[in-house]
């Protein structure tokens, strides 16, 4: 035998759900024609009233039933998808959440769940873990319980979120705290980061408050700015990461490559931040939708060189320009969204304040 089977290669540690440049997920993606990660929005119904939420449909009309979800799981498994991430809304508003997790695990997906945890007690968390849940992401927006509860509009939400994260990591799961940097919570990011470090949790902090799916800009007032934004962003894991200068032929974004997003009604999107449907799995197979979509071909063909403004921007190497956000703001994938420019500018300031060169 030329290759001994016992020389099995590559042992790494699964950390969180993000596909960062150079990460294991990104490298593994090179070996598959279909995304390795499926994000399934189980429902857009929610028990919270977070002001920054970008989802605009909350009725729950026309959601896939459990049988349809099992069919979706079969299709995803056959296409080689490995990670199945359940999101919402609040997925626990579905009566069959435990069944969905169990059905995904039965098909040997690496299963993760993003939740507010407001409707999940300790027994639920243990049951989810027993049913095969590998990683749990819980939204937490402030270190002070009252401030978090006031923002999400639900008393006791902070306590439930903390309990879920603690319980899940105590029984061996990966706990991720998800937060968003906003004008009212910039001072809370450093303490949240410290809390995660003390407990062995991952902090997944988003520096961007995204526009609503319908392009609504009511959230803009929540965006952080100035020195307080800068101080908060310094706590992000990639805050001081050196980044390459963008070339005109460099691919703009991984949408359409590393993950597929399925809406509660079966609509297929490239990404949660890009509110354009490729088709519905109730009408055609996921494979057909994915491979025949002209929109997908267009998006994966986007490059930095498509925007002259971005190519000449001195901060472009700090930018993670999102074509979905640009589409919501300007109706064009090749435009630059305001929030991306602001966040890139802040990253550049952090870099320069730390003595980084401009080369």
């Amino acid at each position: 035998m030329v290759i001994k089977p016992r020389d099995a290669t590559t042992i790494e540690q699964v950390s969180d759900c993000e596909v960062r440049p150079g990460s294991f997920w990104e490298r593994l993606q090179d070996e598959s024609d279909f995304p390795l990660i499926a994000l399934f929005c189980a429902t857009e119904r929610c028990c919270m009233k977070c002001a920054h939420c970008y989802q605009t449909e909350r009725t729950g009309r026309g959601e896939l039933d459990f049988e349809e979800i099992e069919d979706l799981l079969d299709q995803l498994a056959a296409l080689g998808v490995f990670r199945f991430s359940i999101t919402g809304g609040e997925p626990a508003l579905r009566d069959d959440l435990h069944q969905i997790v169990e059905a995904a695990w039965k098909r040997k997906f690496l299963v993760s769940l993003k939740t507010t945890a407001a409707l999940l007690n300790k027994q639920d968390i243990i049951k989810l873990r027993e049913n095969g849940l590998s990683s749990l992401s819980v939204s937490l927006y402030h270190i002070e319980p009252e401030k978090h509860d006031e923002f999400v509009g639900r008393k006791g939400a902070w306590r439930r979120a903390m309990s879920a994260l603690e319980t899940f990591s105590d029984i061996g799961g990966i706990s991720n705290m998800s937060t968003v940097i906003m004008d009212w919570n910039t001072g809370a990011i450093a303490p949240l980061k410290n809390m995660c470090e003390e407990r062995g949790w991952n902090l997944v902090a988003d520096a961007k408050v995204l526009l609503a799916d319908d392009g609504g800009d009511a959230v803009v007032g929540l965006r952080a700015s100035g020195d307080t934004q800068l101080e908060a962003m310094k706590n992000l894991p990639n805050a001081r990461q050196r980044r390459p200068v963008k070339g005109p032929g460099d691919q703009l974004c991984l949408a359409g490559i590393t993950s597929v997003y399925i809406k509660p009604t079966g609509e297929v999107w490239l990404c949660p931040a890009m509110p354009v449907s490729l088709g519905n799995i109730r009408d055609r197979s996921l494979y057909e939708i994915w491979t025949e979509s002209e929109l997908r071909k267009q998006v994966i063909g986007l490059t930095w060189g498509d925007s002259e403004k971005c190519m000449t921007c001195e901060d472009n190497r700090f930018c993670q320009r999102c074509p979905g956000e640009a589409f919501k703001e300007h109706g064009s994938f090749t435009a630059a969204a305001t929030v991306d420019c602001e966040v890139a500018r802040a990253h550049a300031r952090i870099w320069r304040e730390d003595g980084g060169d401009d080369g």
């Binding site: 035998m1 030329v2 290759i3 001994k4 089977p5 016992r6 020389d7 099995a8 290669t9 590559t10 042992i11 790494e12 540690q13 699964v14 294991f24 593994l28 070996e31 598959s32 390795l36 498994a77 080689g80 998808v81 490995f82 695990w105 040997k108 997906f109 690496l110 299963v111 095969g132 590998s134 061996g172 799961g173 990966i174």
Partner: protein, 94 residues
């Protein structure tokens, strides 16, 4: 070394796995280690559906054109290693 072996190994129920390209990628969700198998390991993993070691070795012999003895030895070593890593379980033994 015994020539015949009816031991059956099955994937540990706490392992997520998927064939990506030509190779299997495994994650034991108890320790979150990722293991990417090589070509030979992947062939063996694809046989862990209730077949005993003899049957797995016969498959390996066919695919890689090696002797049954060599195949049996390599399959046995591989599965012992996988067992130590907590990725397979022994179902029954003769």
């Amino acid at each position: 070394m015994k020539r015949e072996d009816s031991t059956v190994y099955i994937p540990n129920p706490r392992v997520a796995y998927r064939k990506i390209g030509e190779r299997f990628v495994l994650v034991n969700i108890e320790d979150n280690n990722i293991l990417k198998l090589n070509e030979t390991g992947s062939e063996i993993w694809s046989c862990l559906d209730g077949r005993d070691i003899n049957e797995v070795a016969a498959h390996v012999r066919e695919v890689f054109d090696v002797s049954q003895e060599e195949a049996l030895s390599d399959v046995r070593d591989f599965l012992e290693d996988m067992k130590k890593r907590g990725l397979v379980e022994q179902q029954n033994q003769e």
